[in-house]
Amino acid sequence: MALSGIEIYKHLPKTNCKKCGFPTCLAFAMKVSQKAIAITACTDLSETARAALEAASRPPIRLITIGGDSRKVEVGNEVVMFRHEKTFYHPPGLMIKLKDTAPLEATLKTVDEVANLVIDRVGLKLSLDGFAIQNESKDAATFARCVEAVKARADLPLVLMSPDPAAMEAALEKSARSRPLIYAATKDNWEKMAELAKKHSCPLVASEPASLDELSALTQKLNQAGVEDLVLDPGPQGFSASLNTLTQLRRLAVKKSFRPLGFPIITFPAETTGSPEEEVILAGQQIAKYAGIIVLSRFSPATAYPLLTLRLNMYTDPQKPIQMAPGIYPIGTPKPGSPLCVTTNFSLTYFSVATELEASGFPSWLLVCDTEGLSVLTAWAAGKFDAEKIAKSVKAFNVEASISHRSIIIPGRVAVLRGELEEELQGWKIMVGPPEAMEIGSYLKRYWTN
């Protein structure tokens, strides 16, 4: 939680010695609160004051990193209940569960599929984050072998799942350098699991289904044992319990700064649902409502894609839509005689159109107008995508120099712009495209002759 200047000032020596470069301690405190300078610039800060300031300025939900340098997932450090209050920062990790009892061949096939799944959306690459490997065999050697094989195949973040410290130790020997998440410390095994977490510097899940009181007691014991990087497992949570429990945990952390429960939360939506379809719906709820790591029981690209999309949507900054730089974009390798289309600079809009143009077999020019990141109809309704704006963009980006013809295709949803645009762009042919980008290919086949 960010501290105010006054709160910081309380901890300073108040001698105004100026060694930090500021005339007074208060002036320094104000700069620190604005994050313009680090607290360590005060040369006379006492150890206790430093510790107090550090504790007070810790984020309400600890940031936890799982995975090594090549691929990692960072979760936690959220500061609000609702995304409109600021934004949600760290998208939940989506992990696929593997069991060490499954034939290794099959497991590695899934590993390849998951690791190779990269979905292009809005110019971003969406993919799943890693694997949760369960020690279903209850055998340490089998578990370690499976973990080692998975890690060798794809170096993605891992959750190691076993209640048995010996099996965990064996698996950690094979994987600790990529900082897997240890699942889990319970009230029966916490001392040994804490040892392992410390020894291998890995984050640890505190698992306690009984109550939040007991969960908080467990995290405190783990903290005292020296483990700071924790993830919470409040036990199996169906639709209602998940919403209610995860909301309570988020509230305790961000509204009360309740440290013992200020950690990201891991969920297993399959545990409380009866079918793969239902699991996906619960996982969707948990993306919107406060999960930090979601372990899916099964991999299917058909459901990974919508979940990844929801995650992207929920964790987009509500203050600024993802947008493109305005300009004239070549799609494929267009020639001067290739089609010219016009659209807005909302990324989603741009990529919807660009993807279809690419697939259409017609290399094209795409003129992207500055609509402040608004979609076609939104921008039109807001007066930011009109004939004048399009005509100005044609001039501003010197479109006439790139193309030999004088035809421009406008989005079907703003067909009404045609008349005015004919006025604005004298000598041009204004063509009204289809309403959906999906239909651009067939439209070009029918109407583009050049």
Binding site: L243, L252, E278, V280, I281, A288, A302, T303, P318
Partner: protein
């Protein structure tokens, strides 16, 4: 240190809106004194309802999976409505699409006939939606209003351009208006005020905040709904109307649900993806405050119905 969970006590309450009755089954929507399904703070006395879309003309551009699921029922709104009831609909949404100037341009007479037919076919509460062209909406909604007099239908869309006539019809015939605004908290509130000013009771209004589908603006709808609901709970009477979301239409019209070819292999199985698209859009908007979700696929109806029961448990 015992854990003391902070509880929010809200002063406000979402209005309770009744649909149906008078020989027809009735249903009460709204009434929350808490955020969606959060029983730690307050009560959610009525479960969110599932409405199912029925069109008066066979939809021209539907996904093959929807067409396969409904079959010939799509050709007759009465048959379609009956089937929707069997699949678990709480409410039927009859869309008078044929009145659209480009899709048939039918008028009041045809609208009356269709509405009569559908009202006779099912005993569920019914919502009537116009073709989304202001003058045509007025014509067919007013016709529908008189046919359904006393049966407490919901009529939409009631927008800034036509709210006077739709609200007047609701007052005259005892119906509920669906006030629709484009994803904006102030516009939503303003329209509610205007409708109330001409005399329609606040408990005869539902709000449609405009739905963005998954991947196509859902985050905007989600946040505007959360803000509208928070405003209602704080005590703002002019945002206390229950909300309705067109989840089905906005999910199934997207490429991810519709395109049968030319999509990347990474998108996986078409039907599974399309169903997840609708299911995830639905569950997200239920969690941000939807009191009625309009759905299209029978499988999603079952899944969302089950999820709602579990969220209410």
């Amino acid at each position: 240190m015992p854990v003391e969970v902070p509880v929010e006590k809200w002063a406000g309450k979402v209005n309770e809106v009744t649909l149906g009755g008078n020989g027809r089954k009735s249903i009460v929507i709204g009434g929350e004194t808490t955020l969606p399904f959060l029983k730690i703070d307050g009560a959610m006395p009525h479960r969110p309802a599932i409405a199912v879309e029925v069109d008066d003309v066979m939809p021209a551009d539907w996904s093959p999976h929807l067409i396969a699921a409904w079959g010939d029922a799509l050709k007759d709104p009465a048959v379609w409505a009956k089937k929707a009831a069997e699949y678990g609909a709480d409410i039927i949404v009859l869309t008078l699409d044929s009145a659209h100037p480009e899709r048939g341009n039918t008028g009041a007479a045809e609208a009356k006939k269709t509405v009569e037919k559908v009202l006779a076919a099912v005993d569920l509460p019914v919502i009537i939606i116009g073709p989304d062209v202001a003058e045509k909406d007025n014509e067919v909604l007013i016709a529908a209003s008189s046919v359904g007099r006393g049966q407490r239908l919901a009529l939409g869309n009631c927008v800034d351009k036509n709210y006077r006539s739709v609200a007047a019809a609701c007052i005259a015939d005892g119906h509920v208006a669906i006030a629709k605004t484009p994803i904006d908290i102030n516009l939503a509130k303003q329209l509610n005020i205007l409708i109330c000013d001409i005399g329609l009771a606040p408990d005869a209004i539902l709000m449609d905040p405009t739905t963005g589908g998954l991947g196509y603006g859902i985050e905007y709808t989600y946040s505007v709904m959360e803000r509208l609901r928070l405003a209602a709970l704080i005590g703002d009477k002019m945002t206390s109307m229950p909300m309705i979301c067109d989840v089905g239409e906005e999910s199934w019209r997207q490429k991810e649900a519709r395109a049968t070819s030319g999509v990347p292999a990474t998108w996986g199985d078409h039907q599974e993806r399309a169903l997840a698209w609708e299911g995830i859009t639905g569950v997200s908007l239920l969690n941000s405050g939807a009191d009625i979700v309009v759905l299209q696929h029978p499988r999603t109806i079952a899944l969302i119905k089950d999820a709602i029961s579990k969220l209410m448990a």
